[in-house]
């Protein structure tokens, strides 16, 4: 039963990892940009949430109403102001600029919130649980998993069933021709980053309720998100959810064997997938 419990908890944890990964996957899909500072934006959302709830006394989940649009705006202007300039054939500029951003963000957190771990207080939600078939499931992990499914389903719907999604797919397929068809690719990239950071905001708040975070917590989150993307297969959002679940289960099973093995076994699961199926488990079918 302990093992079943570990697996179920791992699946639920995978929902959070899928949320970490969804933004990363979206911006790679639209503009082939890999944001090294992605994890730091997750932590930024958590700190913004913390500031909002300490100054207004709101419930953390309610703070999403403020944090999500703020992060989306940051994303849009960051993309238009800085990151659009780095896009091109050379992979080095976006990589190094986002790496620089990551260092700046981490030190800004350090300067404004100190190195102490912080946590958001969500009251009864943190400890509430339901019993199901002999397992005790936390409401928060269940909620996180539910949100992950809703977010991924919405992104999927947005991508394939709306005119915005069509525009994203168009700039993704061929930027120049999309531009000729009257799409402003700079604006589209801005919107994509805005949506990505909006999703990141949700992930950041849920992270901040679930565990404590500190200024350097971002890099591990970037790595988890990245692993979920690669395990699931590039360009496939439902695959990313599966990747997150596999990563989460590997970590909880590892932790069950020996607490020191939690993170290591997640990385090992990633390396095994990389060795056996480098294209990921569910790569996008069409190019």
């Amino acid at each position: 039963m302990d093992w079943v419990n570990a697996i179920v908890q791992g699946v639920l944890l995978g929902g959070l990892y899928a949320l970490f990964a969804a933004g990363l996957s979206l911006i790679f899909g639209v503009m082939r940009l890999v944001n090294i500072a992605h994890g730091d934006f997750i932590v930024l959302s958590a700190y913004l949430g913390l500031t909002v709830i300490t100054s207004t006394g709101m419930h953390p989940l309610l703070a999403l109403i403020i944090v999500v649009p703020t992060m989306a705006a940051i994303g849009y202007f960051l993309q238009r102001g800085i990151l659009n300039q780095t896009l091109g054939d050379d992979i080095l500029p976006p990589l190094l600029v986002t790496f620089g951003l990551s260092v700046i963000l981490q030190n800004l957190f350090l300067a404004s919130y100190s190195a102490d771990p912080q946590k958001m207080d969500a009251g009864a939600l943190e400890t509430a649980s339901v019993s199901f078939a002999g397992l005790s499931l936390g409401i928060l992990p269940l909620l996180t998993f539910g949100i992950a499914i809703v977010v991924i389903a919405s992104l999927q719907y947005m991508f394939f069933c709306t005119s915005l999604g069509r525009a994203f797919r168009a700039v993704s397929d061929n930027q120049d021709i999309a531009q000729l068809m009257g799409l402003n690719k700079r604006h589209m990239f801005g919107l994509a980053m805005g949506i990505a950071l909006g999703v990141t905001a949700i992930a950041g708040i849920l992270l901040g309720i679930r565990t404590s975070f500190d200024p350097t917590a971002g890099s591990a989150r970037l790595i988890f998100g990245f692993e979920a993307v690669i395990i699931g297969g590039l360009g496939n959002l439902w695959g990313t959810l599966a990747g997150g679940i596999i990563l989460g289960v590997a970590q909880t099973i590892g932790a069950k064997i020996d607490p020191g093995w939690q993170l290591l076994s997640g990385h090992i699961a990633f390396l095994i997938v990389l060795a056996i199926r480098p294209q990921g488990l569910f790569p996008r079918v069409s190019g």
Binding site: Q85, I91, L92, V97, F99, G100, A111, H267, P278
Partner: protein, 341 residues
């Protein structure tokens, strides 16, 4: 009528001057224990080690297109191997440093086989995952102190040299020697047949492949050589620090972020860039370090601005403007003096 004759050569006036100056500077630096204070020597030793790391990172990112943010894997690995080889195998430290390099090259082979499956930016994050795997694995080794790390036993430190000043001089010379060896190795590699192939890959990977260059193989060789040399540097770094812990050994800030800033600011894809970058980086650090976190924020801004406004860095700017090179690597067409025939 005599035709103007031209020749293609790598030689240039500036390179000759630079070579002479370089030798003079080197002699002055070798003599540092007789003219420099203890603190200055420490700082210079650190500069040489960073210069070496930067040269190696530049060889990978600037020439082979392998942008790694996980070189701390090899720095830490080398450091731990120094501790393991001296403490458990009883090797003298100097032998252990070479041993750490060999082991670093060996371990980089399976690592490369795995992460070379990732392209471009995903490769970068893949290297980071590898560094995390190394960090977490070494944190599990309880005989090396586990998560809290361990110190190098006094006996091993004493075996290096009797007196403290002799040890400090030795550490300084080893750092200087490492920088000379790394720069010479990178220079000779770039002058060789493989280096020509590498330069071709830097300029256009697709064109290079179509000319029959085995791109994967060249990149693989660069990765393994860099891994080995970086591990050796790691051993040297932790021989000076005398204490190792997983967080210090596999620190992404110390061993990768700073190195990237050095190369980007100095000029990526040139041999001169890391030298200029190291001087700029340490000048910034020595003047701004008291500001703490502000200093790192400034450094991040400088790197972003350089990347956006002058992506070839300080040296790229100088070279474009004055057309000089300190290392004779690029080919130039030169007029030959007229000869009557």
């Amino acid at each position: 009528m005599s035709a103007q004759t031209y020749s293609v050569s790598r030689d240039s006036q500036s390179a000759k001057v630079a070579a002479v100056l370089g030798v003079i500077v080197l002699i002055v630096l070798i003599a540092a224990p007789w003219w420099a204070g203890r603190a200055d020597m420490r700082l210079m030793g650190e500069m040489f080690l960073y210069l070496s790391l930067a040269c190696l990172w530049n060889l990978m990112a600037g020439y082979a297109g392998l942008v790694s943010v996980g070189q701390q894997a090899y720095v830490g690995f080398g450091g731990y191997m120094l501790f393991a080889l001296t403490m458990f195998a009883g090797l003298p430290p100097l032998v252990a440093i070479v041993g750490a390099g060999v082991l670093g090259a060996l371990i980089s082979i399976p690592v490369a086989a795995l992460i070379f499956r990732l392209r471009g930016a995903y490769f970068a994050i893949g290297t980071w995952v590898m560094a995390e795997v190394f960090r977490l694995s070494f944190a599990q080794v309880s005989s090396l102190g586990g998560g809290s790390g361990s110190s190098l036993p006094v006996g091993i430190v004493r075996s290096l040299a009797g007196s403290r000043s002799a040890r400090e001089s030795l550490a300084y010379w080893m750092a200087l020697g490492a920088a000379v060896v790394v720069i010479a190795a990178v220079y000779l590699f770039l002058r060789s047949r493989r280096g020509l192939a590498l330069t071709a890959i830097r300029d256009n990977e697709l064109a290079a492949a179509s000319l029959g260059i085995d791109v994967w193989r060249i990149k693989f060789v660069v990765y393994v050589v860099t891994g080995g040399l970086t591990a050796m540097l790691g051993a040297l770094i932790f021989l000076q620090k005398l204490r190792i812990s997983p967080d210090a050994a596999f620190s992404v800030n110390d061993w990768t972020a700073f190195v990237i800033f050095i190369v980007v600011i100095g000029g990526i894809g040139t041999l001169e860039g890391p030298i200029i970058g190291t001087l700029v980086f340490f000048a910034l650090r020595e003047t701004l370090a008291d500001l703490g976190t502000i200093y790192l924020i400034v450094l991040g801004f400088v790197a972003i601005v350089v990347m956006l406004k002058a992506p070839r860095g300080v040296w790229g700017f100088v070279r474009e403007r004055y057309d000089i090179q300190l290392f004779p690597l690029a080919y130039h067409v030169q007029k030959k003096p007229k000869t009557d025939k």
